[in-house]
Symmetry: C2
Subunit: 156 residues, 2 copies
């Protein structure tokens, strides 16, 4: 049912459970209950999730016993290496994770009071500077992490 051009190895496919699972298969990895549940949870997430949140969300979605924490940790570690997810820091003790959508980068707005996280639907303003870091500073594989913090209307 995937609408992606499955044969074009270098084209960036649309984000879906199928394309992600295919990517895992392509790496010789196995499609397990846990991985399917985690990917499903990430796709449904409206905000970045912590490991514990992923554990709970994945369990609910798959209607199965929640996965072990270490398992979630290792699955996320793997997905991060494959650049399917990225770890982000929201000013909290725990790290949070979200899917990397190659078609739509977005930054975050975090309420410092209630902790609510909004995914910003605004054009990211740092691309030009990123280019400059490549060209004039000579850095390669430049990425960035941009988070905004403030008190949301409800918390004022």
């Amino acid at each position: 049912m995937s609408r992606t051009h499955a044969h074009g190895a270098s084209t960036l496919p649309t984000l879906s459970a199928d394309t992600i699972l295919d990517l895992l298969r392509g790496q010789g990895m196995r499609i397990t209950r846990g991985r399917v549940a985690i990917i499903s949870a990430l796709l449904a997430a409206k905000a970045p999730l912590s490991l514990e949140e992923i554990r709970v969300a994945a369990g609910k979605r798959a209607r199965q016993e929640p996965l072990d924490f270490a398992t979630v940790y290792r699955v996320m570690e793997t997905l991060e290496e494959l650049k399917i997810v990225q770890k982000i820091h929201l000013g909290r003790a725990r790290s949070h994770y979200e899917l990397v959508d190659p078609h739509a980068h977005h930054d975050h707005l975090v309420c410092t009071d209630c902790g609510k996280v909004e995914m910003l639907d605004e054009p990211c303003p740092v691309e030009p500077l990123e280019r400059k870091l490549r060209r004039h500073y000579g850095y390669a594989e430049v990425k960035h992490s941009l988070e905004f913090f403030g008190r949301c209307p409800d918390c004022q």
Copy 2:
């Protein structure tokens, strides 16, 4: 020797040990060896420092026994509450700290290989978006955290 306009309560003073210590005094806090050493170390730092780095740097600068880790932790906690320093995340396990200079905001460029951190002397490109978050999103006290990651010329 301070060149600041010490009487203007609301003007943002130039960053110096004196102005920072005055700020602490104003809060009824005491000027201790440790705090002086830590502030001195932060002023001299060319990059954000971890708690352990602050501990060592402060000890050297003050030519005294290094402070206890818990002490450094609590001093930095205090300085952060007073908005004199800010904690930043450089993609490592430990947090790093740096002084907040009200006159010159800067972002960071981190080498993902050797860990080198450059303080970017480029105009920060997110001010307009920050304004929009205040005006259209209704957020107050909006700040941001922007870090770039890449492989530096030496590491390629």
